[in-house]
Amino acid sequence: MALPLPAGLTPPEIAFLCEMELVTVIPRQRLEGLDLLGGRTPPLIPPQRANLPLWLALLLKRQRRANILPPPWLHPSALLTILELEHAGQSAPPRLPPAPPGSLPISPPFLPSSTAAAPRDALPYHWLELGEILLEAASDDFEDPDGVRRLMRDLREVRMASMRKGVGMFDAQGGFNMTGFGGMEVGEGRAFIGGVIDGLRKIGAARERSGDGDQDDQDNGFPSTADDYDDDEMDM
């Protein structure tokens, strides 16, 4: 590969994507609505809360023009509940907040999953990035930043462990179910999980050639044809 960058996104890139999430701010100064590419931002009138993209909120926070209201799931008690859930159900997938009924947008940047109105018992897609960014830029807006930081770390450990545990079960459904994992976690696991699948595929490729394709698809779980392999091997 000529490109020095690994496949997938690097952590700073994932964090950049996360800055499109909406967060709730409490403005300290008036500000008219701004015409941005993503639409007009709500006008800021001091005591009223407003939802802004994270990057704008961070900018205002840095200039001391606004306070950021951490989303409910970043509260220590909510994190503790989620952590217990993760501990209890070993294989219980980390959960995404449900989409509001009847709403057209269903994926993270457009779902208000990190505003003050977000559900408190589900982690959104960008939970890790958002949590870290807020803890770093707006730790004075948290009641207990150190506690939150500690719980975030625990939660991350538990979830990474459950991801790693999944490696042993690769064969069953022939893929790896990453539903519910956050952006940063997917980015972190990508190289390893991709490598394992690739290694298994190479070992399985020999089996294909030996002729008993049908039977093998069942226990290896990677149904594929000889043509696929040729294509794959070209760019390795």
């Binding site: 690994p6 690097t10 952590p11 700073p12 964090a15 870290e132 960014i133 770093e136 830029a137 730790s139 990474m160 790693r164 545990k165 490696v167 042993g168 690769f170 064969d171 940063m184 980015g187 972190e188 696991g189 990508r190 190289a191 390893f192 991709g194 490598g195 394992v196 290694g199 298994l200 190479k202 070992i203 399985g204 490729a205 020999a206 089996r207 050639r209 030996s210 002729g211 008993d212 093998d216 226990d219 290896n220 091997e233 070209m234 390795m236």
Partner: protein, 186 residues
């Protein structure tokens, strides 16, 4: 496997036992017998790239020059050890490109492996790879493991597994670096 893939080249340089079916004049140097002849039925360890070429015979409509055997790294002893406990076998000592060697041999026609054995071998390899991959992921995320009791295991990783370890370790590291960078800015 690409033409420029260094791992593919190194895989091909690993040796397989070959048995000569014919007496070849002047080929004794392969066996350390300078200037002599290669006797029929003599066994020599040849690199895969050479053994593969010599064992191909259909094109010339003759008996093949050599028959390939199974290298000891893929023999029944190793496969039994892998079945017993995949995590304690030092694959690197057996072959530095263990999995590549195995898949390469399975691609070729090897005299003394039949279909059932072949299937069994692939099954054992798949199970081994999965079991070891789980441990690799644990080790890569756990700094202390690499220095303490994990060191022996890591030394026994084959080249594929090393790359896997590296990938897992690097991505964990880059996330840690990103978090640390954010803290420093503050």
């Amino acid at each position: 496997m690409s033409y420029y893939d260094i791992d593919a080249i190194l895989t091909d340089a690993q040796k397989v036992p070959c048995t000569f079916e014919l007496t070849v004049p002047g080929l004794g140097f392969l066996d350390g017998n300078m200037g002599g002849d290669m006797k029929k039925d003599s066994k020599v360890e040849l690199p895969i790239w050479l053994g593969e070429m010599l064992s191909l015979s259909e094109m010339m409509n003759t008996d093949s020059l050599v028959t390939l055997g199974i290298p000891s790294a893929l023999g029944p002893r190793v496969s039994n050890a892998l079945k017993a406990d995949p995590k304690t076998v030092d694959l690197r000592a057996l072959a530095s490109h263990f999995y590549n060697l195995a898949t390469r041999l399975l691609e070729m026609y090897v005299e003394d492996i039949n279909k059932a054995e072949e299937q069994e071998m692939i099954r054992v390899l798949t199970e081994t790879f999965k079991a070891r991959a789980a441990v690799i992921a644990d080790q890569a995320n756990n700094v202390r493991g690499t220095l303490g009791e994990g060191a022996d295991f890591l030394r026994g990783l084959d080249e594929n597994e090393r790359q896997l370890f590296r990938a897992a370790h690097d991505s964990a590291k880059s996330v840690r670096a990103w978090v640390a960078e954010g803290m420093k800015k503050k």
